[in-house]
Symmetry: D3
Subunit: 242 residues, 6 copies
């Protein structure tokens, strides 16, 4: 017997996803990504400098920072700027976003510049890190196009696309793209990042309750593959417009 | 001879102002306020606790925090959470917002609870603190209405309205509601907070270039009074809808 | 009916003000300023470097830091060095002092050097920031004279004088130079910084209780103008001695 | 064609693993775990308190902290205590260790007490986090036995065992238990945490170079399963002695 | 052959020492101590609380904090509040002052209250920590007298006096009470804290250049004994006045 | 009448001392020093840079850092990296270790390089700082020999040896090398650092209970001299092996 998901979605159904380009004016790329009620503002900022460890090597850098507005969540959480440090969860997520996006960038073609992807959660309803990766990719492409339009780079440093989705075991069954109601009650939560060549960039699965079996893991990976394929289509569509 | 303002506005003309209530879902009050291209998300969060210095006194508290997304501005600024502390400008602004909003609240009627106003700048184009105060007032009223609808408070703790605007001397002439182009080039910058009874709550004028004369100060205060009167009308209109 | 001020002073009467130059030995300028029982040690330190944002521009910099000894006040407050950060009030005050003093300095004439004004409150009885500005001006002039005596600068970078005073509404009436007893009980508190050409450099008025009317604001500014005129005379006198 | 591993090990071969109990005297559990040249001191400390969010719920807590001595590595790294904060990598690893160990603990049977697992790397040669998990499990069991020997708990809160190993694609081939030479040159690095019932607790795979295919992922998981089975045997043997 | 000291003092001669009680108004004890050009403001603040580790034990606490105004020294040093932490030297000195003063206090007679000794250096010319201890003792006695005058304590918690002086080997010869010119050029620097019963509370000798011989150590201790005897006389005289 | 020491040792008897060279692999010098149950890992790391204040002067630097694993002690103490700062005791000890070791180094012969001595306490039972100094000396010599073996330096920068021991008054009698049981119950605790030419580098004596008399101080220094002589023999023996 299958349980009906809190949202009424089918197990293999994504939430409504939107990618709104040009959401703010100043950034070289600026995308508001929504996975249902989860809304993340992703901006890409170009800086003509690289961190110290890369200086003089002719390579660029792509990095990410992640934040959550204090009242993006059900109850208000402390402002990290006010507490004086970023928590472990924040650091873990922004390291993940950075690694994920670097996986589709030819850093030599980018040249000695840094693109910083700021992913700020305006409203949280589960899956903020996977929404952030999916949206940040679009912001990154816009920033690269901006560089190309100004002839600052000649070779396209973007190879392939990157997107991410969460999957999990909810009441024993594999489901795609967990919202908060599912996320807080699921047994296993897995975040999967892939490129559009079918390769895995990152797989992070955690048993929250019971440990998961190998067969369950296989089912979850299958769901993620199908969900991410849809996200690639939505990214292409968003980038084709305007 | 008068100079034409960069935006083409008349000296006594506000930018287009909008107050969008219910912008996010979780907060008891949530308002996106725009003064032209300046956009600030103001949320009001209710907590049934008060800071230590008020415990057991039967009074509530209203406080504010202010933040700016790293790429809200022309060039990216460091994330305060990552630098590990809030800068002096941030602290100064959030202290101002808190004082301004407390000026219209009967803290005994509020009872032993805290309302925190988070003002986060999504996009900056001058006047973020005055937009924040004007928007936070509407979020505060929504949070109080939420308390009233749940019968948690009986007496209305809000007395009067609070709004704010900037004025300044730009190329020698007094102008209302400076945008970034004017703000970065003006001689004097003044932020004025008033209540709708015509009283001043805060006046902060700073000579950036030449010191200002008493007559100039008088002209600026007159401009601010007329601008704030318009903001009160917009707040009332926003609160009347829905 | 007028109330008698706690100190017995007339509404328009300053406290006894003294400016003791050469209070400590090492600094290029060192002034102990007293406004009644408020005592602030202001030192001016010359450094042949400028902050990064000014390097190579041929301009100097004037900046201020403010501190309060832990037991300068009625009850002991935590040492900011021990708490690990400066509070919002401290940052706000030191930003104000820096802006105020820069308003009388030709930074090109100063050349690529920084003058740091350290204002440390030995004893507090209200008005520490206005005493600090008034005293720091004298320390600044002494530091500039020291540079001139060593022929390190040729053109005098000081144009005009800067002084500051607080005014407020105490029991409904405007009074000059609030001491702690008045400050903690007043309705409106305003700090005014002027130059000796009659121009305003900074006006910061805050309604602590009831909002203030335009006429009250006007009366306060008049009081401040007269009080600051007396402070300029005292600064000139102090600088003429020795 | 297969490449010979730098260490000369077979692809499916663990390094020499040792688990030395009672390495230090004060802690309730104290284990020096070695995976080849990687040596981690794991201590388990019992405290009769729980964090605030668990107070009064009758449940215990298991948490971990991770550190690396400054010269555990090839070149000296800064001491985190001296830099004033723990880096993102440290926080990420200690969160992982804590989650992994909590997965085998019945927190109600533990009662309102906290067991803190301190994992300090004395010497690093790759795989410090998986060694830490494997060793911390033994220290945890020793601390629980200590509680049992003092009759402080009656029911055994440990259900099953937990161990971890890394696997990766090195020169295209899946290998088990990467040392530093392999880790720094591999394409994909995956850390796997399992329980001795064959369930997965955590799977974290990262493509450092090329994205990995589904078949490669499957091969890596198989290697991890066999390696972890050996670690369970070593844990049992260590716990059986004395 | 003996060298003449930079100050012209005899080897066994103290600098001019003064102890000015009641230097500031708010503190229960407030002493400006001068050892020549070294000037330290020592305040004693009484608080009716004790640190957590003493709560409910019926004992009081005496502790110290030390600070140096940024321009107390020849060249300006960073403000510790602004750097965000107290340096090792500061922590070391304030721990020493606290230990030294606790050595003459019967903490049971003091009852559950804390006396905090803030020692802030207004001007530094060597020997700030020994001046601080010598002055803080007088401030401590004044605070205790204040408690006695209010009948808050009945038994005198002060047993004996505490004072401190530095001694050192300058150009090979033992000298008393080093000033900055000597301190920065001496081979060995020793700080000695004693009580007026002839007992040693703390001896801290450091070879800056050549290691010192046992005979030199003996000579230094003899000098310190005679210097501290003079300081006790000055403390008694200061406390007898008014 | 004499009391028997908790350990049964004679008053002038050291604990069993061992110096295990090459304890870890990566550092240029790595020594595990044990004074009874006190075990400190001392590593010496060579870096071809010097701190800013020495740059370009042709001199090297020797510095130390000290840490204690959280469960090195009877009850677990907070991790300093997690608390975000090193405590006063830590800073005081590492400053002492650095000064002590610099006393036997010709920094010109060392050339522009820094040797950092990391002293991390694996298990504490009193006397960690004296064990650290004694062990760090051996690690330092090993690092220098490594530099010599690579011909990076020609002249031996080490002149003489440095070792340290604690002495104290326990139940009225002078005893050598206090362990924790004695340390926590003694009246006076003194740490003595000497070189092998019989010179004193540092003497730090603190009266924990009653002040100590001059004759007691003399007896303690005598004990320390004899104990340190034995430590020099052990250092020589350790360095002669291999």
């Amino acid at each position: 017997m299958t349980h009906v998901r809190p949202s009424g979605r089918m197990p293999e159904q994504l939430r409504a996803v939107s990618l709104q380009r040009g959401y703010t004016r100043h950034a070289e790329g600026s995308v508001l990504v929504s996975f249902g009620d989860t809304r993340v503002l992703c901006t890409a900022s170009v800086d003509n400098k690289v961190p110290g460890f890369l200086r003089g090597k002719g390579e660029g850098w792509v990095t990410a920072e992640y934040g959550m507005l204090p009242r993006a969540t059900h109850s208000r959480s402390d402002r990290e700027a006010s507490r004086g440090k970023q928590g472990g969860r924040t650091l873990e997520i922004q390291r993940l976003i950075g690694r994920a996006l670097r996986a589709c960038v030819d850093r030599t073609a980018l040249g000695e510049r840094t693109i910083t992807l700021d992913c700020d959660v305006l409203q949280a309803d589960g899956g903020t890190r996977t929404a952030a990766i999916t949206g940040a990719y679009v912001a990154l492409v816009d920033a690269v196009r901006w560089l190309q339009s100004r002839k600052e780079i000649t070779r396209d440093p973007i190879h392939g696309a990157v997107a991410a989705v969460s999957v999990g075991l909810w009441r024993g069954a594999p489901v795609l793209d967990l919202d908060y109601a599912e996320d807080s009650a699921c047994d296993t939560d897995m975040n999967v990042v892939m490129n559009d060549g079918g390769g895995f960039i990152e797989v992070q699965g955690t048993a929250e309750g019971h440990a998961f079996r190998r067969a369950e893991l296989d089912a979850l990976l299958g769901l993620a593959e199908s969900g991410i394929a849809q996200l690639f289509a939505l990214q292409r569509e968003a980038l084709a417009s305007k």
